[in-house]
């Protein structure tokens, strides 16, 4: 691998790392909204492959609107 390619890859990994730490620092309410979104997307895949669907959580008004 060339030095340039390595530098690009390292920068990509650094950005990913920063994004993950930013995601970890989000308020719990935002994480729960992301969870519901992930559950819905997981169900799209499950539906298309004929698998049992996952229950999607209902968050409650304060969490939905925070």
């Amino acid at each position: 691998m060339s030095d340039t390619a390595q530098a690009i890859a390292e920068e990509i990994f650094r950005r990913k790392n920063r994004a993950r730490h930013a995601a970890a620092a989000l308020p719990i309410e935002e994480k729960l909204r992301r969870l519901v979104s992930m559950q819905q997307r997981a169900n799209e895949i499950r539906r298309s492959t004929g698998r049992l669907l996952m229950r999607v959580w209902e968050l409650g008004p304060s969490i939905r609107s925070t």
Partner: protein, 168 residues
Amino acid sequence: MEATLAILNELETSGLVGRYAIGGAMAAFFYAEAVVTEDLDAFVLLTAQNTGLVTLTPLYEFLKQRGATEEREHLWLAGTLLQLIPAYDPLTEESVREAVDHTVGSACTHVMRVEHLIAIALKTGRAKDFARISLLLEEATVDAPLLDAILQRHQLLPRWNVFKLRTS
């Protein structure tokens, strides 16, 4: 979710459980990024009945009176798939007792400390548990002396050393 936590708090106030605490993937959300999960693990300190028998039946009855329905080994309770798990060893009992209070929306709840989550995952030892440990070590603020004391108290240091060797 908020309604579920409110009912869990009611369960505790009723005296049917000594205390409850959120564990598992949902507890990890308080310390690291969210990952997909289907259920909310609530560990409970059971109070022994007059017979000395320890059973989840009164808890299930209490929750069903509040609208819960059984789904396989879970309960669907106020919009959340709930897994009630009795604290089953000294480590999980300590984790529930020492859980910390957090607010979620308008509800207050008890959440296991990150150091206890790591110790429980280490003891459980499935691939997904090791993945959770790695995630927590990378993203959470872990109190190293506290983790060390927990691992020592529950004879988990040999497993910890193996885990560290595998991941180093």
